[in-house]
Point group: C2
């Protein structure tokens, strides 16, 4: 039951992606309020700061209740302008930067745009390389260069390997290959041969047959491929194979790609 509506602003001198994630994690704890999110990224001049203030104040008047505002503003001058708003403000940097300076015994650099690391540093290139590698090793396209992969995902077709692989590459800079387990593998009772040498990197995904049938039905309606019977057969065979081969695996049916990706890394890096 929704008891109130509130407008929420995410104000950042960068992309605002981090402040929005922070805000959502707090706001998702209040399921009785309907929040309308507004992102104000790249507020990096005094003019834009004043525009943001005007927009937030106007929204508060229109709503009849003050907005909720999350900010990550590194430039103290811009923060000062924005924090004159008539709003409930959660100011991340202002709250924690000063105590952190004391703890570390050094002043912060107050520099915008360091959060995503810029494009010149090696970790950014590493991420882009990981994305390209992962795209080039999706769905068993090739078994060349598997020694470069940190993770090799296996599982039946449409169980979530591709989105998980891309998330691992994009978020964590991990090179991922993924291979479908197909009826031919089940008949041979063997993993695809090229995976033998890479056992330590293997991680399996499985899925509820009902969910799988639903996903496949959208792709190929009324096909044998999408039928519940066939999905049950494939999932059961894939799970048997992973158990027999000692491959660690999880059920993707009720997990987000963030949760799956985190679990994969936690398991393989342990």
């Amino acid at each position: 039951m929704i008891v109130a509506n509130r407008t929420v602003f995410f104000v950042s001198d960068g992309t605002g992606i981090t402040v929005e994630a922070m805000g959502h994690s707090l706001l998702s704890q209040f399921d009785k309020i309907r929040f309308t999110p507004v992102r104000l990224p790249f507020v990096d001049t005094e003019e834009k700061a004043r525009e943001a203030v005007a927009r937030i104040n106007a929204q508060g008047k229109a709503d009849g209740v003050r907005p909720i505002v999350f900010t990550t503003l590194i430039n103290p001058r811009l923060a000062e302008i924005v924090h004159r708003i008539d709003a409930f403000c959660i100011a991340y940097f202002e709250t924690f930067l000063a105590p952190l300076e004391v703890e570390l015994g050094v002043r912060s650099s107050h520099t915008v745009g360091r959060s995503h690391g810029g494009t010149s540093d090696s970790s950014y290139k590493h991420r882009i390389d990981a994305i390209n590698y992962t795209l080039g090793h999706d769905d068993g396209i090739t078994d060349r260069g598997l020694e470069e992969a940190e993770v090799v995902l296996v599982g039946v077709s449409r169980c979530g390997k591709t989105p998980t692989s891309l998330y691992l590459a994009m978020q964590f800079g991990v090179k991922v290959a993924n291979f479908p387990l197909i009826p031919e593998d089940f008949e041979r009772h063997q993993l695809p041969g090229c995976l033998e040498k890479h056992r330590g990197k293997l991680f399996g995904l499985t899925i509820l047959p009902e969910r799988l049938a639903q996903i496949r039905e959208e792709r190929r309606p009324k096909s044998r491929y999408a039928s519940l019977d066939n999905c049950r057969y494939e999932v059961s065979e894939a799970e048997k194979m992973m158990r027999r081969e000692g491959i660690r695996w999880l059920d993707s049916s009720t997990k987000s790609i963030e949760e799956i990706a985190t679990t994969v890394l936690q398991t393989l890096r342990a």
Copy 2:
């Protein structure tokens, strides 16, 4: 010049992805300290909370200086256990949840795992659909279904269209198609014909010719395709075409995919 080393823990009862992003955004302000990050995700039982405490305390002893710890622990009992550590602790929920409860006039639900929205809600399905759509409309593979795209990126080969497209899909749930601008288009002095109807969604990426040559050289060493002369020609023609066609564009050379994606949405949704 690095003046100190500190170990940093990110402790969460969920994936820890948000708390890590938050932590990095603060820590990136201190470039004189070398931070060693350790992620402790899924700390969702009292036993795991006590393990985390033991691990953090042991690290502090080994380092000879207390660790920095960022937490997002929703369960108050687990938070209480973890916050007994001997560390400098930035506790996001504890700091902001209570004042937010007062502002909103309701209690929070103290429920773990809401941040990524679970897999059952429509926005999650929307994101997965966006990823699949975007993969299926990468690099001009097809011009079918373009009416479904919210964004259509154009630019010369290897200027950053694919990673940007995938980031838009994964982070923002936006369906993206992307089309390379190729020498044939420049000779005809026309955009690919299928794009005509979708002008309102077009956004261009460009890149410094020197940077492009470097990227292409890794792909196809010593090719005409990668030569600086050819890269200069293609970039100059692509920019001319985008200018003539009134396509908004930006230079991806020094921007991260987060910055590019945010700018694209800000521009097209304005």
